[in-house]
Amino acid sequence: MADLLTNAAAEQAQIGPGGLFMATLRRDLMLSLRRKSELVNPLIFFLMVITLFPLGVSPEPGFLAQLAPGALWVAALLATLLSMDGLFRTDFDDGSLEQLLLSPQPLFIVVLAKVLAHWMLSGLALTLVAPVIAVMLFLPAEGMPGLMLSLLIGTPTLSLVGAIGAALTVGLKRGGVLISLLVLPLYIPVLIFGTSAVQAAVTGLPLGGYLALLGALLALGLALAPLAIGAALRISVSG
């Protein structure tokens, strides 16, 4: 028995925090890449929401350019939110989430890797397609760096906060609408600073301050959100 324990301890010692992080990241990316339709869905949603603005408000270029920073950020935020529900759902359904919680590895790192994998396929993808869609809304070229940088720094925070909501609702049959109710109010600061950064870039004002604030939110989220996600997962799975 003692041998077994020491053997198990030795096996665990072989995989450090870095290894654990990379292993989880690789697993989640691979699993998501195998379901291509789910990957593309948030991007299509982003494009569709953006299409609704000119149809619903006005196709006039000057007006759309004014609307663009906010519309792009709101659409990106909603697209992230839409993809959030699936973050832990499949792992919960097939029981692997329970195994992850039971494993002696620190949950903080597992959760961080899962959120990063999710962000790479949602937030990062949105950041990359955003300039193309921004052109459709006549966002001036000066605004593009602000848009991409603010999305690059802001969307990881959206994923981190959204993951808290996803973890809280993973045990529920229909978590979809509920997760929006829980998470949307918490998204407001990111939306405000993100939109302000784009607007500052458009008008030629310095945007460093807004990006720094987004960075501060991201740092806070990186430090605290995994704790809340871990606690929420334990509650949801045990309940």
């Binding site: 808290i164 809280l168 529920l172 509920l178 109010p185 918490l186 407001i188 302000s196 809340a228 606690a231």
Partner: protein
């Protein structure tokens, strides 16, 4: 257990649903009378005797309802989050029940603050709703309450629901200052806070004294509602316990 001697006995008796029910029952009459006296006295003082504002005339008097409910809506969130944390850490059932009872009260206070704000905004700013920083953050606070309540009712198991909403309330608590400052930088039209702990109020004493009475009265009223809800919640959750039966039987016998 010698290290607990500095705490009065009734304090940790509060952790037991049965004792908490009885202690709240003993406190209720006193608190109700005090709340009624302060609220009625404060309202009469505020509406009839406090001087009218030199710019806004009598319309400013809604402040005596608006400010206390806004303060209370925020305090209530704090209480809900702290009670939730206590329930989460020490697995105290009563703390969970306090947190659960707080949410609807806080949400209605937030609605009251928003409604009175809107009614005040019409004569002062000329419109019912203004996208001003403090109105918006009160609206967001209301949304946070709704989120906690929605989560609480969506989860069937009561202990899981309590834990999950406690986590959400704590996440919201971390976010409230961030939301508040981000919204304030975004847009500001509202006057600055009426009461600050560090400064003397800008209003004359005959205006802010009734306001203080109203704030204290609201706090007492809040305590009364909370204790009533808490007692109901205790009875509902402990309905299978023997002492609940005893109490209910002795009540119906009287």
């Amino acid at each position: 257990m010698s290290d607990k001697k500095w705490m009065p006995r009734w304090f940790y008796q509060l952790a037991s649903p049965r004792w908490c029910y009885q202690i709240c029952g003993k406190l209720l009459p006193g608190f109700t009378i005090a709340a009624l006296v302060l609220l009625i006295g404060g309202t009469v003082w505020a509406l009839l005797f406090a001087p009218a504002d030199y710019q806004q005339g009598n319309s400013f008097r809604i402040i005596y309802l608006h400010v206390p409910s806004a303060i209370l809506a925020q305090s209530c969130y704090m209480l809900m989050a702290i009670a939730g944390a206590i329930g989460l850490i020490w697995k105290m059932k009563v703390a969970d029940m306090v947190a659960k009872s707080c949410a609807p009260v806080g949400a209605s206070l937030a609605v009251l603050a928003l409604l009175t704000g809107a009614i005040w905004g019409k004569p002062t700013w000329g419109s019912w709703w203004v996208w001003d920083a403090r109105l918006t953050s009160m609206l967001i606070l209301f949304f946070l309450y709704l989120g906690v309540m929605a989560l609480n009712s969506a989860i069937e198991s009561e202990s899981t629901a309590a834990q999950a909403s406690a986590v959400l309330a704590l996440v919201g608590l971390v976010n409230i200052p961030i939301i508040k400052y981000s919204v304030e930088w975004w847009n500001t039209l509202h006057q600055p806070a009426t009461f600050k702990l560090t400064e003397k109020p800008a209003m004359p004493a005959e205006m802010w004294l009734p306001l203080l009475v109203m704030v204290v009265g609201f706090y007492l009223f809040f305590a009364v509602t909370l204790m009533m809800r808490l007692r109901n919640e205790i009875l509902r959750r402990e309905r299978r316990a023997g002492w609940v039966k005893e109490i209910l039987l002795s009540n119906s016998a009287v």
